[in-house]
Amino acid sequence: MDIHPISTPPTPDEVEAVASVVGPAGPLVGPEGLPATEARRHLLLPVLHALQARVGWISPGGLGEACRRLHVPPAEAYGVASFYALFSTTPRPPRVVHVCDDVVCAARGAGAVCAALETKLGPAGSGEGATWLRSPCLGLCEAPVAAMVTVAGKAPEEASWSVRGSAEEAAAELAAVVGGASAPAREEARVRQPREGLRLLRRVGVVDPTSLDAYRATGGYRALERALQMGNDAVIAEVTASRLMGRGGAAFPTGRKWAAVASQPARPHWLVCNADESEPGTFKDRVLMEGDPFALVESLTIAGLATGCELGIVYLRAEYPLAHARVQGAIDAARAAGLLGANVAGSGRAFDLEIRRGAGAYICGEETALFASIEGFRGEPRSKPPFPVEVGVFGKPTLINNVETMMNVPAIVLGGGAAFSEVGTAGSTGTRLFCLSGHVRLPGIYEVPFGTSLRALIDLAGGVPEGRSLRAVLLGGAAGTFVGPEELDVPLTFEDTRRIGATLGSGVVVCFDDTTAMMPVLQRIASFFRDESCGQCVPCRVGTVRQEELLARLANRRPHGGLPAEQEMYRELSQCMRDASICGLGQTASSAVESGLKRFAGLWEGA
C-alpha cells in the first residue's frame, strides 16, 4: 500500500510528539511481544493522544506525520481521530474545561452551572486561549458537578475535580480554571459505610495506594504466591467454582471465559482489562483503581498467568487521570519488584501489563469495539460470534474482564471458590459494588452481598434527603431501567432484577426525589445515546436520533399525528433497536427511556 501523503508539513512540536511514542526514527518495534503485522497501526491511538496533548488538536501536519511514521492511510487516520470526543480535528484552544452535564450532575444542578458559565464566558466552545465544553458523565457522580481540565503543551496537564457551591460560585470556580487557575484538589475516594465485611473495598481509603510495601503488609501478593503453587488448572477450577459473574454489565460466568481462553491452541493469548467505565452513573472501577491499584495488578497477573497470556492491556478511559497515575505507578513498582516482567515472582514465567487510554467514547467499553480501538481502528463493534475467547484483540484468543470482576480473584484464590460462593445468592455469588448518586444523603460507593434489597442499600447511603421522598431509581445506568418506590424490596441479584424487567448493569443506583422533572432526565439519556452511537448500524445511528426527536415533541406537546400514532411508532422503533442493532449500545438505547415513559404518568402527554 502506498500512502498518499498529506502535503502540510508537521511542526517540530508535532514531530517530537509523534516520536515520543514511535521512537526517534527508523524501523518501528512495538512494545515487546506485539505481533509484527500490527507493529505500527496499534500505535495510532497513543500517537493521536500525544499530538492532542502537545498542540491541543490533531492538525493536518501532525496527522500526516503520524501516518508517515505508522504507515496508516490519512483518510483512515482521520476517520479514527474524528471518532473520539477528546480529540479535535479543528483548531482548539490548548486549555479546555469539560463540565459534566450528564444525568447525575444534571439532577444536582449542572444545568444552572452551565447556564451561569455561559453568561460569564460565552457558549461552550467559544474563547481564544481557553474554552469550556459540556461533557458526558466523568465518573465522579458521587460529588457533582464534575469537571475536568486538559491543558496541552510541552508539559501537558489534566485533572478532574468536583465543583461546589451555588451555581454562581461553581461557575466562578470553573471560569477561574478556564482562565488559568489550577483545578482545586480532589478528595480521595472515601468509603462511607461500616468497614466490617468489606472485601473489594477493604483497603480503599485506609491503605496507601502508592506503596507496594503497604499493599504487601495488608495481605497483598499472597494470592499470586498461592496461585503459582496451585497451578493454572486449579486456579481456573476455583474461579469456576466461585460462580463469579462478570461485573461489566453482561453478567457472563467468569470461570467459563477463563477456561475457554486457556484451552485455545492459538498463540499468543491476550489479557484485556476493561477499565473504560463510561456508563453514566458508574464510578466503582475508578474508586478501585485509585484506592487499591496494586490489587488490580495482582489480580491481572493471576488471570494472565492462569490463562496463558504473557501480556495484558488495561484499557482505561481518558477521563480518569488519577486512576491512570495510580495504576501506572503500581505497574512500575510491581515490575521493579520482579512481580511483573520476564520472571514473575521467581516463577520463571513471563507476564507484563501496559495501559492504553481511550479518548472519549462510551462505545469503546463494548469489548469488540475496545479491541478495534486498541488496534488503531475506529471503535466500531462487530457481530459475535466469533467471541473474544477465540478471536479477540489482534485476532487472538483474549480474556477480557471488567476491573471489579478481576478484583474478586485474590479472595477466590486464597479462600477457595466454594467459600466465595457462600456469600450472596445461588445465582449471584459474592459481593457487589454499587454506585449511589443523585438524591441520597451519602452518595458514594457501597459494597454489599448480592441479595441485599435496594431499600437497604439506599438506607445505607442515608436515604433521600430530609423532607423529600423517592420518585424513582435509575438502576443499571443509562442502559438500565427506572424502578419505582414500590419495587424497593427487590433483592439485588441478577435473577431478581431480571424478574422485574430490570438489570444491575454496572451497579448504578441513581436516586431521584419527588422534585425531579423526569422528562429532562429521559432527554439527557436519549441525547447521550445519540452522541455515543458509533454510527455503524441503521437502527442505532438513526434510531437514537428519532428517539430524541420524539421526546422533544412530547416535551413541547406537539406529537405528530396524535399520541396513539407516536406510541405505535415508538413501540416499533424500540423493538427494532433492541432486535436489529449490532451491539449492546443500540440494543439498550431505548431501555431506560421506554421504562421511564411507561412509569411516569403524563410524560406522553408532555407533563
Binding site: I3, S383, R530, V538, P539, N556, D579
Partner: protein, 305 residues
C-alpha cells in the same frame, strides 16, 4: 465439502460449511433484501435490512454475515423480522434522499415503510456543514422535523460526483477503495453516530486526496450517491432517459487484462461505464482508463455533453 443441515421457514436444507444464512435462503428461493452486502465485498453487516430470526438467539441476526451452523432454525418472515426490516427502511428513507435508489425504494414499498411518521424531513445542511461535526456533540432539535443527511453534493472533479445526501453509510465504497479491491484508501468513515460520514482526510477535495478515479466505489454504491458526472448532469437537465438507453458489454481496449465494461449509451453517447461484479476477471473493478477513458470515441468532449 462438508454440508451443514438447517431449517429455514420450516424447510430443510443443506448447504456447504462456511455459507451464510443468506446463501442458504437464496438457495431456497427466499428473497432477502440486502443493502450493504455485495458478493465481492467482505460483509460489514451494518444496514440490518437482511436480519432474520434465529431460534435461541436473543436478537435478530444479519443473514448476510452469520454463518450456518448445524440444526439452526431460521425464520425469514416473522413479525419480528418484518417489523425490524420495515423500521430500518423507514429510518433510512426518512433521513436520506432515495430518489436514485430504486432498490431501496422497492424494499421500502414491500415492507410497508411509512417514513413520514417521523415528521417532515428537515431542511438540508449547508455544503460541508456535516463534515464539521464534532464527535460526541450535537444540537438537539425540537423534533418538529426528522433530521436527515440531506446536503448539497460535492462536485470537485470532472469525472464523478459525491452526493452524500443520498448516502446510507453502507461502507461499500470504503471497502471497494480499501482492502477489498483498490487498496487506495482515499476515503473512510469519519465522525460518529448520526454524524458519521464518508470522507477524505479533513474532507479535502478528491483531487487533493489519494483517489485515482478508478470509480470502483461508484460501481458498488447502492443509492446513486456516487455517480458519473455525465449521468448527474443529464439527470439535472431532466434528460436522463432510461427508456432510450442501451447497455452494451464490451472489453476494455486499453490493456491485456481484458476487463469487461458495461456501457450505458444514450443518444449514441456513452453516459456511464460500469463493470459487472459477476465477471471473474475483475469482479466489478476497473482502473481510471476503462472507467472514464473510453469516451474518446466521442472525440474531445467529455462524456455526456
Amino acid at each position: 465439502m462438508k454440508l451443514v443441515p438447517l431449517e429455514i421457514d420450516g424447510q430443510a436444507i443443506e448447504v456447504p460449511e462456511g455459507s451464510t444464512i443468506l446463501d442458504a435462503a437464496r438457495e431456497l428461493g427466499v428473497d432477502t433484501p440486502t443493502l450493504c452486502w455485495a458478493s465481492t465485498l467482505t460483509p460489514v453487516n451494518v444496514c440490518r435490512v437482511c436480519v432474520v430470526e434465529l431460534e435461541g438467539a436473543r436478537t435478530l441476526v444479519p443473514s448476510c454475515a452469520r454463518q450456518v451452523e448445524p440444526g439452526m432454525k431460521v425464520l425469514t418472515d416473522s413479525e419480528r423480522v418484518r417489523t425490524s426490516r420495515k423500521v430500518v427502511l423507514e429510518l433510512l428513507s426518512s433521513s436520506v434522499d432515495t430518489s436514485t435508489a430504486p432498490t431501496l425504494r422497492a424494499f421500502a414499498a414491500r415492507y410497508g415503510a411509512t417514513p413520514g411518521r417521523f415528521g417532515p424531513v428537515a431542511p438540508p445542511a449547508g455544503l460541508n456543514e456535516r463534515d464539521a461535526a464534532r464527535a460526541g456533540h450535537h444540537h438537539s432539535s425540537d423534533g418538529a422535523c426528522a433530521e436527515s443527511v440531506h446536503q448539497p453534493r460535492k462536485v470537485d472533479n470532472q469525472l464523478y460526483i459525491r452526493d452524500y445526501g443520498k448516502c446510507i453509510t453502507c461502507y461499500k465504497c470504503v471497502e471497494a477503495c480499501g482492502t477489498d479491491a483498490q487498496n487506495t484508501f482515499a476515503i473512510a468513515v469519519a465522525g460518529r453516530g448520526f454524524e458519521a460520514r464518508i470522507s477524505t482526510e479533513y474532507n479535502v477535495p478528491l483531487p487533493d486526496s489519494a483517489c485515482v478515479y478508478c470509480g470502483n466505489c461508484i460501481n458498488v454504491c447502492p443509492t446513486g450517491a456516487l455517480m458519473f458526472k455525465s449521468e448527474a448532469d443529464l439527470r439535472d437537465a431532466g434528460n436522463w432517459r432510461e427508456a432510450d438507453q442501451t447497455t452494451t458489454r464490451t472489453i476494455c481496449p486499453y490493456c491485456g487484462v481484458g476487463c469487461t465494461l458495461e456501457l450505458t449509451v444514450q443518444d449514441n453517447r456513452i453516459v456511464r461505464v460500469m463493470s459487472p461484479p459477476e465477471v471473474s476477471v475483475t469482479q466489478g473493478n476497473l482502473c481510471v482508463k476503462g472507467r472514464f477513458g473510453v469516451t474518446y470515441v466521442h472525440g474531445n468532449e467529455p462524456a455526456g455533453e
